[in-house]
């Protein structure tokens, strides 16, 4: 049923629809213009070039990357458990025929392929020569290898208790005009036997730290010896800071030899496992050096601060403080470089992390160096590789290392990881390259290429949000000294990038340079909804204006329209229902 219709409807309704279309176009144009104008891609060419070269720090992204790590056991402290066997030449060191014979027999017995016969034979020889350090070392080494840790520790401890040589060596080492060296057979034997005792103690559960104190004392002698040897060694050896100690009877050290780092490493592990007695007088001796030594580097300052604070907690964490002190000692030797030993670096990072509780504490650069060195060296025992790789992966995720630099080393470590962790390592490396490519992609996005973070898959979204936060921080710093227009542009662009995320302090600081109303206006301009609202309001206004015009045209035309004639014509055609009754 249509009936008579207002003749102006014919053009008016389509015109109103057309007006709505025009208004919609104008509103969309306004919206897209506002969005384009406030985007980071609308900076001038030179500004974009500068922005593209910004280096995005690993800040918020590190937090996200940490979350990728599964909740699992914390990394273990790696023990330097290898005890090198004495060389045959050690026999020449002994003058007494009985001792020479015992050592010779022990060396021969250690070559017996039958483990049971070997340990039994060494037991017999040891009983005949109870004070012989070399025999005890050979027997203890074999027992450790056989897994009889308690027995090994017992024999080694008993032997050390019976000898006075350690005290003589320590006293000699500390004397200013002595000729002792780490190559000295007596020194070497003593260090090796102490080391073996500590290894047996650390490996045994429940642990018995009976050998740790003597080791600490020996290290007290090794320290000055090391100080003396370092300058000469650094010139000759590429592995400059790793002072190797030849096994007793050996003329020279090799890759398998014990090193000073092994000794310190195990001492640090012992401290962190709380197997070392502390307190005065050790405390005074250990930390007293901080006032006299001319230590360098940030770790020294950190250690000093912690020692100063320790009395407040009644030296509650004194053992960990001891570990930190020994880490600092070794690192101080080679400052500004880091120790050339993956195991020590690995453990040192854990000690630093224990103290900093995840905060950098000004040690992030040192920490990054240690992690990078751990990846490069990777000199851990095959049995420790899986543990080392998992721990190193965690450290890498929490570091600011340029991961591209260690990509090849990381590929080697990747082989030691289970598949899931291997994928995580891949993602960490991808994230690093994405972080490097993010600024260029933001200022000049290429629609044909996928975003740099796309390869992160399901982890991409959260990571990208964090990366934008980091980018905003560095971009705000970049804009701070620039003209006001660029500052305002940058505020809007960064706010729009971050959307509802909390802005970094750098962006807050940039915004505070503007007055209150300007800040409110800029924050409104940065929101998509404000642009949509602006576009909608413009569209509404345009539509209203057009409709207003149309309504008035229609009204004017209607004034001179006769509805009577319209209806009359319709009735004349017989199109309308009804009729004269």
């Amino acid at each position: 049923m249509r009936g008579a219709q207002n003749p102006e409807r014919v053009w008016f309704i389509p015109a109103v629809i057309a007006a709505a279309f025009i208004a919609g176009l104008s509103g969309y144009g306004c919206y897209s213009h506002a969005m384009r104008k406030g985007s980071i891609t609308s900076f001038s060419g030179s500004a974009r070039e500068e922005l593209a070269t910004l280096r995005v720090p690993a800040g918020a992204t590190t937090v996200v990357e940490r979350q990728w790590l599964k909740e699992g056991p914390k990394p273990e402290y790696l023990i330097a458990s290898h005890v090198p066997a004495p060389c045959p030449g050690v026999v020449d060191y002994f003058v007494s025929p009985t001792e020479r014979a015992a050592v010779t027999e022990a060396l021969a017995a250690s070559q017996n392929p039958d483990l049971g016969a070997r340990t039994e034979r060494l037991e017999t020889i040891s009983d005949r020569a109870p004070g012989n350090l070399v025999v005890a070392l050979i027997q203890g080494t074999q027992l450790i290898e056989a897994g009889e840790l308690a027995r090994a520790e017992q024999i080694l401890k008993r032997t050390l208790d019976q000898t006075k040589e350690d005290e003589l060596v320590i006293a000699s080492a500390k004397a200013s005009n002595q000729t002792l060296d780490l190559k000295n057979t007596e020194v070497s034997t003593l260090i090796h036997i102490q080391h073996a005792c500590v290894v047996a103690g650390l490996l045994r559960l429940p642990a018995n730290p009976s050998c740790v104190v003597p080791l600490r004392n020996v290290i007290g002698s090794v320290k000055p010896l090391s100080h003396r040897r370092l300058p000469g060694r650094t010139r000759d050896e590429p592995v400059w800071s790793r002072l190797r100690i030849p096994a007793p009877g050996c003329t020279d050290a090799d890759e398998q030899s014990l090193s000073t780092y092994d000794l310190y490493n195990n001492l640090v592990v012992a401290y962190m496992n709380e197997k070392v007695p502390v307190g005065d007088p050790w405390r005074t001796k250990e930390f007293g050096r901080l006032d006299t030594d001319s230590g360098r580097g940030p770790l020294r300052e950190f250690l000093k601060a912690q020692v100063k604070r320790a009395p407040e907690s009644e030296w509650k964490d004194e053992k960990q403080l001891g570990a930190l002190s020994n880490v600092e000692t070794v690192i101080d030797w080679v400052h500004p470089d880091v120790p050339d030993d993956a195991r020590f670096d690995f453990n040192a990072v854990q000690v630093i992390d224990w103290w900093t509780k995840g905060e950098t504490g000004g040690l992030s650069e040192l920490r990054d160096k240690l992690i990078e060195q751990a990846f490069r060296r990777r000199n851990v025992l095959p049995s420790q590789r899986a543990s080392f790789a998992r721990g190193a992966l965690r450290m890498l995720a929490t570091s600011n290392i340029d991961r591209a630099r260690i990509a090849e080393d990381a590929a080697q470590v990747r082989a030691w990881l289970p598949p899931e962790d291997a994928r995580l390592l891949d993602d960490l490396l991808t994230a690093d390259s994405a972080r490097a490519g993010l600024p260029r992609w933001l200022v000049a996005p290429d629609e044909d290429q996928e975003p740099p973070h796309a390869k992160l898959g399901p982890r991409a979204a959260a990571w990208y949000t964090a990366a934008l936060y980091d980018f905003a921080a560095v971009a705000a710093n970049w804009a701070a000294p620039r003209p006001v227009d660029e500052q305002r542009h940058m505020i809007v662009a960064l706010r729009r990038l971050l959307q509802s995320a909390t802005p970094p302090p750098q962006l807050d600081a940039l915004e505070k340079q503007r007055n209150g109303w300007d800040r409110v206006w800029l924050s409104l301009c940065a929101t998509r909804w404000f642009c949509i609202l602006g576009g909608a309001l413009l569209a509404l206004f345009v539509w209203l204006v057009l409709v207003w015009i149309l309504v008035h045209i229609r009204e004017r035309r209607l004034l001179r329209t006769s509805f009577y004639n319209v209806e009359y014509d319709l009735l004349s055609k017989g199109d309308a229902p009804g009729g004269t009754r």
């Binding site: 049923m1 009936g3 008579a4 209203l544 409709v547 309504v551 009359y568 004269t580």
Partner: protein, 392 residues
């Protein structure tokens, strides 16, 4: 003088029952009684069509016209069973009779008003139909309902309490009575008796030497003006006053001019600053220009267009501007938005008037009045008047 009138026979009676048709008669109000007495003294004179209008070109031939073409406008109109109101010079009537003061119908006495006002209390808006007696106001309302049903499929029951003058033809609204017709849940027509408007007519009051109108004269429409949806002015162009008039429809124009002025004044005058020393009309004429114009659409319908074929070939706007300058000026002065149109709801046949379905010219005009989807548009010109340079 008869005190009753039979509307069916259109004759005066002394008894409440008509001796001719046996129906109930109605009591004649004093004003009408006085008018009837004057009319009897002055015999009705057939009104010839105005010379100016006779030269108008004839309506275009409509082969399938649903209504008969009548080219003799007022002469052919057999309408006036009602005595015409021939003005009597005031100088002659003044000494003859004291001034008549008809009793103003109070709201309590106006039949139907209370119920209509109750409807207004339910947030309904009123479309007030204004026009002289016999102009076809009620037929227009009824015709709109029929057209709405036929053309738009929107049925509504009739609330008009009109008795049938004859089958299919409504009788006139009784004096002191208002009719109303619900359009939908939000709007309704207010159809007062033409007698109310006749009482307001300045010329009529002058002729009858009546004093100035009072505010009580507008009781029938006062509340409706507060809940106004629109105004319909019905003009019967088939009526002409005489050959010597400057305008043949002058009296209707003058009446509607006064009504429009009063409606504007009453719609916006909320302060009731009407000192007793100043008469209502004087006060109104002085104050009305300060008030906003009528903000609701005003529709002027030229009824009985089936008998006006010599005019319907031109636009109603041009007709009004040319031949109804007073009314046009009043609309330009008092209304923001208005339009003119013709309509007819009945046709004249040999047996008298009969209802026509669908009526012509009512539907679209009323829809213009009632359905403007852009009335909310801000900053609208008072379109009709401002667009054509009026309203100053």
């Amino acid at each position: 003088m008869a005190s009753y009138k039979c509307d069916a026979c259109n004759e005066f009676r002394d008894d409440p029952i008509c001796e001719k048709c046996g129906r109930e008669t109605r009591e004649i109000p004093p004003l009408e009684k006085a008018a009837a007495r004057i009319a009897r003294d002055n015999a009705p004179t057939p009104v010839p069509p105005p010379p100016a209008l006779r030269v108008q070109k004839a309506a275009p031939a409509r082969s399938a016209a649903p209504t008969p073409v009548v080219t003799e406008p007022p002469k052919a109109k057999p309408e006036p069973p009602r005595p015409p109101f021939r003005p009597k010079p005031a100088a002659q009537s003044a000494p003859a009779a004291p001034p008549l003061q008809p009793a103003e119908p109070t709201p309590e006495k106006i039949r139907g008003l209370r119920e209509f006002e109750a409807l207004l209390d339910r947030k309904m808006k009123a479309v007030v139909i204004c026009g002289d007696s016999g102009t076809g106001k009620s037929e227009i309302v009824f015709g709109f309902l029929r057209a709405l049903n036929i053309h738009r499929g929107e049925a509504q029951i009739m609330n008009l309490r009109a008795p049938d003058r004859k089958p299919g033809v409504l009788a006139g609204t009784a004096p002191d009575e208002i009719w109303y017709q619900v359009i939908d849940n939000k709007r309704g027509f207010l159809d007062p008796s033409g007698e109310f408007f006749k009482q307001l007519s300045p010329e009529e009051r002058r002729r009858l030497m009546l004093p100035d109108v009072t505010e009580d004269s507008f009781d029938f429409v006062k509340k409706a003006l507060r809940n106004l949806a629109g105004i319909v002015l019905v003009v019967d162009l088939t009526r002409a006053l005489g050959p010597n008039d400057v305008s043949h429809w002058k009296r209707q124009e003058d009446d509607l001019n006064f009504v429009l002025t009063a409606l504007r004044f009453l719609r916006h005058d909320k302060k009731k600053t009407r000192p007793e020393e100043i008469g209502f009309s004087v006060n109104m004429s002085q104050m009305v220009k300060k008030m906003p114009r009528i903000d609701k659409p005003v529709l002027v319908l030229f009824s009985k267009a089936d008998q006006l074929t010599q005019y319907t070939n031109q636009t109603p706007f041009d007709l009004a501007r040319r031949y109804l300058p007073t009314l046009h000026g009043a609309l330009m002065t008092h209304a923001k938005r208005f339009r003119y149109d013709f309509c007819h709801t009945m046709i004249r046949t040999g047996q008298g008037d009969s209802e026509v379905d669908p009526p012509c010219g009512v539907l679209l005009s009323m829809e213009w009045l009632l359905r403007d989807p852009f009335r909310w548009l801000p900053f609208q010109f008072s379109t009709s008047s401002a667009l054509i340079g009026g309203g100053k």
